[in-house]
């Protein structure tokens, strides 16, 4: 079975985002960018399925600027076999990303498409579900365990009340949650090897997908700031504060 993995280049999770003074967005100039953490988990899961013999080939796809090549090279260094960059400098919304991924899926015919549950920049949490809808495939979202057996896949999902397991027929879409696995670091030799793995560059137009945005961002502002309060010296003083707050009688 072939696996398709979607990886997005986003601000590094360790960087504190700053809103631009003109209110048009978040300042990404000279900011460290990385693979979306949930997508690292997606790549790792694909590699583990291949290592177990459940999958034969891993194709990583990214939609974004030329620099998203770096993100794809990271996926290749981790263990993906080849990569496709759908290159554009425009911002592409989840719906359009899902449409592009649906086209790639029709071409590649994978048994599973694995995505992150959420991109940590737009925090949309929708691309995987949209892709599944467009393909008419089942979806195992927020996965903390993925088990392939025959033409079925059991996905354990992190839900508000705990965990839930669903059985899906393949082909299917899976989106990863934090505890699915711990992604590996690429070794130096693998980083070198990744440089010669195939990376195809395409344009949204090659797939005939209209990527015009449906949402217009009118303004981006800083959230209301919380100011630091007071420090108390000991537990008695803390309880005093809790009393004034009415938390304890």
């Amino acid at each position: 079975m072939k696996l398709l993995v979607a990886v997005k280049r986003v601000i590094d999770f360790n960087v504190k985002p700053r809103v631009k003074a003109d209110g048009t967005g978040v300042d990404l100039a000279n900011v460290k960018m990385s693979m979306n953490p949930f997508d690292e988990i997606a790549v790792e899961e694909a590699i583990r399925l291949k290592e177990k013999g459940a999958a034969t080939e891993i194709v990583a796809v990214s939609i974004g600027p030329a620099k998203a090549q770096e993100t794809l090279r990271t996926a290749l260094a981790m263990g993906a076999d080849r990569a496709i960059l759908i290159q554009t400098d425009d911002e592409v919304e989840p719906l359009a990303v899902a449409k592009l991924l649906a086209k790639v899926t029709e071409e590649e015919q994978p048994g599973l498409v694995i995505l992150g549950k959420q991109a940590i920049d737009d925090d949309s949490n929708q691309t995987g579900q949209m892709l599944a809808a467009l393909l008419g495939w089942p979806q195992g979202t927020f996965a903390s365990k993925v088990e392939l057996s025959g033409d079925k896949v059991d996905v354990t999902r992190e839900v508000d009340g705990g965990l839930e397991t669903v059985k899906l027929s393949t082909p299917a879409v899976v989106t990863t949650d934090l505890r699915l696995n711990e992604p590996r670091y690429a070794s130096l030799p693998n980083i070198m090897k990744a440089k010669s793995k195939p990376l195809a560059t395409k344009a949204p137009a090659d797939y005939g997908v209209d990527t015009a945005p449906r949402l217009q961002t009118l303004k981006v502002a800083e959230p209301p700031k919380r100011s630091a309060g007071v420090k108390v010296a000991d537990v008695d003083e803390l309880i005093g504060k809790l009393k004034t707050l009415g938390v304890v009688a």
Binding site: I11, K16, P17, V19, V26, P94, L95, A98, K117, I120, D121, D122, D123, N125, Q126, Q129, M130, L131, A132, A133, W137, P138, Q139, T141, F142, D154, E158, D160, G161, G162, L163, E164, T165, K167, L178, R179, R214, L215, Q216, T217, L218, K219, V220, A221, E222, P223, R226, A228, G229, V230, K231, D234, V235, E237, L238, I239, K241, L242, L245, V247
Partner: protein, 309 residues
Amino acid sequence: MTSLVLVEHEGGQVKDATLATVTAATKLGDVHLLVAGQGVGAVTEAAAKIAGVGKVLAADDASLAHNLAENVAPLVAGLMASYDAFVTPATTTGKNIAPRVAALLDVMQISDILSVEGADTFTRPIYAGNAIATVKSSDAKKVITVRTTAFEKAAASGGSGTVETVTGAGDKGISSFVGAELSKSERPELTSAKIIVSGGRAFGSSDQFHSLLDPLADKLKAGVGASRAAVDAGYAPNDYQVGQTGKIVAPEVYIAIGISGAIQHLAGMKDSKTIVAINKDEDAPIFQVADVGLVGDLFKIVPELTEKL
């Protein structure tokens, strides 16, 4: 403009998240509800009593028993011919179903709204809540998930909605429910608790997490939360996680103990009314958002606090 709100329910009861979602939808115009599930008679009755609700659509079928998105989304998409917006809470159920509906309708979902600024304009958090975007949708129909902490709950009684039965397309036959391992707890649910005590990696073990935090939570009648690090380390189950990618909470009082205050954690709790932090590192970022801070060793402070309360 009329919105269709998906009712989230459990054990025959409407969940609080739905009530906040109704308030958000009311800001767009009339509100109808959809109750999907198996044996939904009692929930449907309860839903019809929610203040401000015009109509309740009840879809009762075995294929809808477990909120499988593959079966619920086509039902909703079919109903949307008569509605202008589909609105769900941004719970794991809502986040699973709404985008599937959006794609079937060919519209771009507006996730996690904090406010309704106009019929097509909303605010929503991005970058772990470090920025708030005001977005305007050009889609004819809106699909929206709601950050429930940002809206007051609608009254659960006083309404007199009419009930109508609807049928879906049945089982798509591509997915099935196998089972669930739900956390059982006598404590208040995180998203509706008035007080939350939350523990981090500093607790060091599951035993210490529970032997220290549970008695404190009992005294305060509080819910118990955790940082990702604490959940990853197995001190607490996944549904305790508060943060950008866990639960978003806004209690009256949030007490963070042995939690550093990473932006991903702050994203889930910084709208709490009062934040109390206990941490041995006086420079821990959590103190930058805490109203009350106590620097010290939790292994001394927590037992003393519990005893003196």
